[in-house]
């Protein structure tokens, strides 16, 4: 197992190099704006733009630029400086990531806590009225886009009914870049809506997935054996049934946590949350290549790492895979 993990970590490094390379090519070769002009700001003279171009090395061939980027990254763990405001990308990520993680963790908890029980109830009561109603509800939740759901929820709950807080001068999220880790009491109420909105479609997808997966498991021979032993139906479903369903759920979860980062962009924009999603969105709009690079690299690293965690978790959960992963 240790050898397996080590091998996978080495692969992760290779993959990350490829990711930086591809992002670099995409944004340097097809820039949305001239970085030097961007950095120079309004009313800049051509001399200033030229000087900046020289300073950033933008007049050099792309492979030299890429080499320098990788060199800084590897030797100094330096992701460069934003073209937009000359802030270090690394420190910007350190400030923004906890906020996005707060949104992500909250969403995952909600979607699992809602989706899995609904899936179980539906699978057990398959074909009956309660199952149909739950699945229609799930379909509605899947069909509603996150940004639409977000705006509707904001309007309804914050403005109209006023259940959830609005922060002076900042809107639906407290200013100052606080996260669940630094100011839980202040941030948690502000996170309720964004997390619910982000979790809604995932919860619905998981409910349907658990229903399908558990229904299949419940038709297995070993479930019949569990019943034949005289176990309570509760034990049969929750212990024997869910034990098998856990493996595909973990697998799906690993993939979805990556997609969640994409979903966070929409929600962070709608709810004005200063996280990684909004940072990336603004960086893409402004052609701020170092920031985009940093965000993409972080996203890729997270997804690869999550996949590794999934692979290890699968081996832990499924004894038949342990030998294959040894």
């Amino acid at each position: 197992m240790a050898a397996f993990v080590l091998r996978r970590l080495l692969w992760t490094l290779v993959l990350l190099v490829i990711v930086t390379f591809v992002t670099f090519l995409v944004f340097v070769q097809m820039p949305s704006a001239d970085p030097a002009v961007l950095r120079a700001g309004r009313n800049a003279t051509p001399e200033i733009v030229a000087a900046l171009r020289d300073q950033f090395g933008l007049d050099q061939p792309w492979y030299v630029q890429y080499g320098k980027y990788v060199q800084h990254l590897v030797l100094h763990q330096d992701l460069g400086y934003s073209y937009q405001n000359n802030v270090s990308v690394g420190s910007e990520i350190v400030a923004r990531l906890p906020v996005t993680l707060s949104v992500a963790i909250g969403s995952v908890l909600i979607w699992l806590a809602v989706g899995i029980p609904i899936g179980i109830i539906s699978a057990v009561r398959r074909g009956r009225m309660s199952d149909r109603l739950l699945m229609i509800g799930a379909l509605a939740a899947i069909s509603a886009p996150a940004y639409w759901l977000g705006l509707v929820a904001l309007y309804l709950l914050s403005k109209d009914i006023g259940v959830l807080p609005i922060f002076e001068g900042a809107g639906s999220y407290p200013s100052g870049g606080q996260s669940l880790f630094t100011a839980p009491a202040q941030v948690a109420p502000a996170l309720v809506l964004p997390c619910l909105v982000l979790a809604a479609s995932f919860a619905a997808i998981y409910a349907r997935f658990v229903r399908a997966s558990l229904s299949e498991v419940l038709a297995e021979d070993y479930i019949r054996t569990a019943r034949a032993k005289g176990l309570r139906e509760r034990t049969v479903v929750l212990k024997h049934g869910m034990r098998s369903t856990a493996v595909p759920i973990i697998t799906l979860l690993g993939l979805d946590l990556g997609i969640l980062l994409g979903g966070a962009i929409l929600v962070e924009i709608v709810f004005n949350i200063p996280g990684m999603g909004r940072l990336s969105y603004e960086a893409i709009q402004r052609g701020d290549i170092p920031t985009i690079q940093g965000a993409v690299l972080l996203g890729a690293a997270l997804i690869i790492l999550l996949n590794l965690v999934v692979d290890v978790a699968q081996a832990v959960l499924d004894p038949r895979l342990r030998k294959a992963r040894a």
């Binding site: 398959r126 019949r224 054996t225 034949a228 032993k229 005289g230 176990l231 139906e233 034990r243 004894p319």
Partner: protein, 345 residues
């Protein structure tokens, strides 16, 4: 003496996409303590569904219609509620399934699955249940039981798995053991060992056993009585020796003559019963075997035969419309021609 298990006029109807299947259509039998009833039939004859129903496992199927009586020590299980039935499952009646690999949970260790069966019926501590699991494995002849208890099902051989499956069924000393094709998934040599093991355990523990199989050889080895099922009904029933020597039903004749023998000529096709098992959604009228029966007469398509005692032998019952004397003559002719064939080769 009261029979341990008595099944009276059991009928099971299950809805499918193509229509309602009458999987079991009026099956009755009794099994006494220490005795083995072998139920023989093709796949789809209703033999598995009838035993799953006795366990109360067909109740879970949506739309299942079950009528009749299943008496365990005189108590009707079909009338019992789900919780009462749960207490009976595994404790009063236990079951062994065909394929032990798919019948055991792949993610739980053997010992844990056995201990769970022990703990399902009675206040047994975790530690005591684990110890009992090892004992049970020893009882069914699993060597190095302690080490095997820590293994997962996929880590064992087929024979060991089936022994473990038997151990699981015996965990609560059941009154009735139902073995559904217990040896079909095993090699021939392992098959013989498992059958001997079942035989020995039955002698030791005195259970009433129902052995379901499509293999007449298996029944001949361990059963005291045979019931032959065809299209959801029992068509012939009696002591094993009688049935093997003097079978009365043309379907039973087909089963007996289609057993492969080493002294048959090479390359010669095995005798087989013509046609295919009937659909149980719209079963044939009259005698259900008549479309495949070479002895059938036109009136057999309208009259439905009852399971009646063979003249002169009340323990032997058959559901056939042919005249008893004619049946006897036809079987003798069939048997003699088969014997003659064996002699000439």
């Amino acid at each position: 003496m009261m029979a341990v298990l008595e099944v009276r006029d059991l009928r099971v109807r299950l809805p499918t996409d193509d229509g309602i299947v009458t999987a079991v259509d009026g099956v009755s039998y009794t099994v006494d303590a220490g005795r083995t009833l072998g139920i023989v039939g093709e796949s789809g004859s209703g033999k598995s569904i009838s035993s799953l129903t006795i366990m109360g496992l067909t109740r879970f199927l949506p739309g299942a219609e079950i009528t009749g009586q299943v008496l365990l020590d005189g108590r009707d299980l079909l009338a019992a509620d789900d919780e009462e039935l749960r207490r009976v499952r595994g404790a009063g009646i236990a079951m062994i399934f065909q394929d032990p690999l798919s019948a055991m949970h792949p993610y739980f260790r053997l010992g844990a699955q056995l201990a769970e069966a022990v703990r399902a019926h009675g206040a047994v501590g975790r530690r005591a249940a684990d110890a009992r699991a090892v004992e049970l494995l020893e009882l069914v002849g699993v060597p190095e039981a302690r080490r095997r208890a820590a293994a997962y099902p996929h880590e064992l051989s087929g024979g060991m798995r089936q022994r473990a499956m038997i151990a699981m069924a015996l965990a609560n000393a059941p009154r009735v053991l139902i073995a559904d094709e217990p040896t079909t998934a095993l090699d021939a040599t392992v098959q013989a060992q498992i059958l001997e093991e079942l035989d020995r355990l039955q002698d030791e523990l005195g259970m009433a056993t129902v052995l379901i199989t499509h293999d007449v050889g298996v029944v001949a080895q361990v059963a005291h009585e045979i019931a032959v099922m065809y299209a959801g009904r029992i068509v012939e029933r009696g002591p094993v020796d009688t049935i093997l020597a003097e079978p009365q039903h043309p379907y039973t004749w087909g089963l007996l003559t289609s057993i492969p023998r080493l002294n048959r000529p090479r390359g010669e096709a095995l005798p087989s019963i013509p046609g295919r098992p009937p659909s149980l959604i719209s079963p044939p009228s009259g005698c259900r075997f008549h479309p495949r029966c070479i002895h059938a007469r036109p009136e057999h398509a309208t009259v439905s035969p009852e399971l009646e005692a063979v003249p002169g032998d009340p323990s032997h019952r058959v559901a056939c419309l042919l005249d008893p004397a004619e049946r006897q003559a036809r079987w003798r002719a069939l048997r003699d021609s088969a014997a003659a064939e064996e002699v000439t080769t």
